[in-house]
C-alpha cells in the first residue's frame, strides 16, 4: 500500500483518532515545567510546529499566535523518560508466549538485541504511555550476566500507525546490560551450571571483556596489515558486540542491587575503562561516596516493588535523594517486574521519591532531563526546549499527587493519549 493511498490516510485516522495531523499547537500552562535551565512552575506557553518545539514563552500574559490550536493545561511537563525498563519485551500476560526478555540458555548473550523482541502491541507498552512515558530505554531482563543490547524507543508517535518497532527507534545499541547478584546464579547455579556464585559471574564478565579486547585487536591488526580477505579473522558475534563496549562506543549498564555488587561493577568498569552506568542500585545509598568518586550515573530502581530477594531487603524510598544529594546524576527507572503488577509506573515511582527527600522538581528532573542526559538523548528529549521533539504531558494537578490525572500525552506533536 502506497503511503499516498487514501486507504493509508483512513488507517492513520482510525489508528490515531486524536492525532492532530501536523497541526500547530499552542500549549498554555498554568504551571509550566520545561526542565531546562530556566524558571520552573510558572505560567507559560509551548508552541509546537511539525512535531517539534518551536518556542517556549514564560509568563501569564502569553498570546497564542494565529493559526495555532490552543490547548490549556494545569501542569505541563516534558514527556517522561524511563531510563531502564523491560516493557515491550516482558509481556503483560507473563506467559511463555510473551516472555521475551531473558535468553536464559547462555550466561553470555551479548549478541542479542531487544529490538528483535520488542512488541509495541503489548498492552504494557501502550499502558506506560497513558502515564506520560514517551521515551524509554528497553533492556533485556535480569537473568544473564551478559544479557544483551538495550535500545531507546518512543512509546508511541505519529510515525507508528502499524505499531512496528522501527519508527519508534530513538537509538539502537544504547547500552550493554550486565547483571550481577542473585538472578544469574539462581538461574544457572540451581542447575549446577556457571555461574553458581558471584565470583563466577564477575569472572565470566571479565573474561568476555578480555576476549572482546583481543578480538578487536585482531581486527585492528588485520586492517593495519592491509585487510587481506584470505586472512580475515573469524567473526565472533558476542565478542564483536562486546568490542563496542570495550571501545566505549556502547555504554555498559551494570544492573546491581547489593552494595558489594555495585562495588564489583565499579571495579570492572574501572579495570576496562568502560563508559558505564549503574542500574537498580538498591544499596547505592550505602556506598554513595564510592559511586560519587567513580563518577558513575545511577538509574535508580523502583522502590515500590515487593522485596523479592535478599539483595533488595535494604531498599529505601530515600535512595534517589541520598544519591542525588552528593551530586551523583540520578534517573529513576522501572526495570523488570517478575509478577503482578507486571510493570511499575514511572510517575508513581518518582512520586515516592518526591515525597521522600527528592522533592517535586527533583523527582521530575529524575524522569525527564536527567535520564535524557545520562542516556545522551537530551538533544531530542527530556526538556521543553526549542528544537526538541514535542513530547509533552498535560496534568490536571501536581503530576505526583496520586489523585491527579494525566489529561493528555503528546509524542512528536501527535496526541497519543487523551483522558477518556
Amino acid at each position: 500500500m502506497s503511503l499516498r493511498s487514501p486507504w493509508f490516510a483512513l488507517l492513520v485516522t482510525v489508528a490515531f483518532p486524536f492525532s492532530l495531523g501536523g497541526q500547530n499547537v499552542a500549549l498554555v500552562a498554568e504551571h509550566l515545567y520545561t526542565m531546562d535551565a530556566g524558571p520552573q512552575g510558572g505560567p507559560g506557553m509551548v508552541l509546537i510546529r511539525d512535531g517539534k518545539i518551536e518556542e517556549v514563552r514564560q509568563g501569564a500574559k502569553v498570546q497564542p499566535p494565529a493559526g495555532f490550536q490552543v490547548i490549556h493545561g494545569a501542569y505541563v511537563t516534558p514527556g517522561l523518560v524511563d531510563a531502564d525498563t523491560t516493557a515491550g519485551v516482558a509481556g503483560a500476560y507473563n506467559i511463555p508466549a510473551d516472555r521475551d526478555q531473558d535468553e536464559a540458555t547462555d550466561p553470555n548473550t551479548a549478541d542479542v538485541n531487544v529490538r528483535d523482541s520488542l512488541n509495541p502491541e503489548d498492552r504494557l507498552y501502550e499502558y506506560v504511555n497513558t502515564y506520560g512515558v514517551t521515551t524509554m530505554q528497553v533492556t533485556p531482563g535480569p537473568v544473564n550476566p551478559i544479557a544483551g543490547r538495550a535500545g531507546i524507543f518512543k512509546t508511541a508517535g505519529p510515525q507508528s500507525p502499524f505499531h512496528t518497532v522501527d519508527p519508534l527507534i530513538v537509538r539502537l545499541n544504547s547500552g550493554m546490560v550486565f547483571n550481577l547478584g542473585e538472578s544469574p546464579k539462581q538461574t544457572y547455579g540451581t542447575n549446577h551450571k556457571a555461574p553458581v556464585t558471584r565470583m563466577k559471574t564477575a569472572e565470566m564478565i571479565r573474561d568476555a571483556l578480555l576476549q572482546a579486547r583481543g578480538y578487536q585487536d585482531k581486527w585492528d591488526k588485520w586492517k593495519q596489515e592491509g585487510s587481506d580477505p584470505s586472512k580475515q579473522p573469524t567473526i565472533e558475534p558476542k565478542s564483536a558486540a562486546l568490542a563496542e563496549v570495550v571501545s566505549g562506543k556502547t555504554p555498559a549498564i551494570f544492573n546491581a542491587y547489593r552494595a558489594d555488587d555495585i562495588d564489583t561493577a565499579i571495579r570492572i568498569g574501572t579495570e576496562f575503562h568502560l563508559k558505564y552506568m549503574l542500574a537498580s542500585v538498591t544499596e547505592g545509598y550505602l556506598i554513595r561516596d564510592k559511586i560519587k568518586q567513580a563518577q558513575v550515573p545511577c538509574l535508580v530502581g523502583a522502590v515500590m516493588q515487593p522485596v523479592e530477594s535478599m539483595e533488595t531487603a535494604n531498599a529505601t524510598y530515600e535512595n534517589a535523594a541520598l544519591l542525588q544529594q552528593v551530586g551523583i546524576p540520578v534517573a529513576i527507572m522501572t526495570g523488570y517486574v517478575a509478577y503482578v503488577p507486571k510493570s511499575r509506573v514511572l510517575l508513581f515511582e518518582a512520586a515516592v521519591a518526591a515525597a521522600n527527600g527528592l522533592g517535586m522538581e527533583g523527582a521530575l528532573r529524575a524522569i525527564t532531563i536527567s535520564p535524557a542526559k545520562i542516556l545522551g538523548i537530551d538533544d531530542r528529549v527530556g526538556s521543553l526546549s526549542k528544537g526538541k521533539d514535542a513530547d509533552v504531558v498535560v496534568f490536571d494537578g501536581d503530576p505526583f499527587e496520586y489523585t491527579s490525572h494525566v489529561e493528555q500525552v503528546m509524542v512528536q506533536g501527535a496526541v497519543t493519549y487523551r483522558r477518556p
Binding site: 498492552r123 515500590m304 522485596v307 531487603a313 529505601t316 524510598y317 517486574v337 496520586y402 489523585t403
Partner: protein, 448 residues
Amino acid sequence: MRMKMLLWAGLLAFSVSLAAAQSAHDENVLVVQGARILPITASPIAQGVLVIKGGKIVAVGETGKVQIPAGAKIQDATGKVIMPGIVDSHSHIGIDGNPTVSDSQDANEGSGPVQPGLRALDAIDPADPNIRMATSGGITTANIMPGSGNVMGGQTAYVKLRGSTMEQMLIPGTLGGMKMANGTNPKGYGTRGQAPMTRMEEAALARGIFQKAQQYKDKWDAYAKAVAAKDKNAKEPDHDLGLDAVVQVLDGKRIVHNHTHRADDVMTVLRLADEFHYRVVVHHGTEACEVADELAKRHIGVSFTMIDSPGGKPETINFSISCPARLEKAGVKVAFNTDDPITNSRLLLRSAALGVRGGMSEEAALKGLTIYPAEMLDLESRVGSLEVGKDADFIVLSGAPLSTYTHVIETWIEGEKVFDRNNPADLRYATGGFEVVGRYPQPTGGAQ
C-alpha cells in the same frame, strides 16, 4: 455435644487469658488535640479532641466542646490529621516474611488443595519486620491469611499489629476467616499433574468440602439431639479439625475470604456461597466491576487490591484503577487491601488515593481503609472509626490522607504508640533500611 461444649469452653478460656494479657493498658487519660479529625462514621472535625482511657476512645469531638479530664496527659497535634488506624483485610505479613527467602515463606501449604485445618496463626512470626513496616504505613488491624495456592487455604487470623507473641496479636474473641481461592493460582497443581488442573475441578473441590462439612454438621447435630434426649446409645462422631472450621463457615461464624480475579470466577464464588449459604468477601476482584450488580444485590463487599498495571498473569490483564469507582456506583462496599507483599503495607493510603484517581469519592475511599474492611472482618464494633467505646487505634498524619506528600507521623493501637516517625529507628521502617540503621547516611529528610 460434650466435646463441642468443651471446645467452646476452651476457646472462651483462651479468649479470657488473652484479655488478661491485654489488661496492662494505661489507665491514665491521654488527650490528643488540635488536629483535623476524620472519625469516618461522622463528619470531619476541623479542630478536634480525642480522649483515650484504658485503650478505648472515651470522647471525640470539637475543641472546646469536649471536657478534658483533670490530670490528663495532653498531646498537641495542631496542623495534623487524625483518622482511625487502617484495617487491612488481606495481608500476608508475618507469614510471608522479610527478607523473601524460602525459610520465611509459610503462606502456601502446597501439599494439597483443600486445607481447612490449617491456622495462619501457627505460622505467623510476630518479629517479621514487615509487621513494623505495616504500622509505619498506618495499619493497625490486619487479616493475615494463608496464600492463594489452595482452593481452601486455611484459617485466617484477625490481629492487631503489636506484641511479640501471637497471643498478644490476636484480637480476643475472634476466630478469623477462611481463605479460599479460585482461578489461576490453585491450578498450579495442574502443572504437576495433580488436581486441580481446571477451574471446574476447583469448584468441585470446594463444593465437595462444603458437602462433607454439611454432613459432618448433621451428624453432630443428631448426636447433640440424642444426648439431649438422654439416648444411651448416642455415639460421638469422629472429630475432624478441618471440618470443624468449615462448619463454622456454614454456621456464619467464619467469613470466607475468597481470592478471585476474573468475572466468571467471581460468579463461581457467588454460586458456591448461594448454594451453601455462607458469608463471603470477594478479594482482589480485578473484574468484580463487571458483575457489580450481582454483588450489590447479595450485599457482598470487595476487598480490592490496587496494583499499578495490568497483567503479570492473564487473569489480571483487565485490571483498571476505575474498578472500585464502578463498584461504588453500583452500591458495592469496597475495601482496599495490601495483599502484602503484592503491594507494600506502607502504601495502603496510596491505594485508596488511586481509587479516587479512578473516579471514586473520597468518602468511600477513606471508608475503604477503615470501616468497610472492619465490617468484612466482623470487627466494626471494635475498630474502623473514631467513636466512643471503640479501640483507641488511630494514626496521626502530616497532611491530607490521600496526598502523595503526606507521611504517617504516629500509629497508635489501643492507646499505645507503636510507630513514631520522629524516632530514628522507627523511621527506617517507613523509608526502608532498618537493618542498616548504623550505616544509613545522615542527615536525611526524616520526619516532616
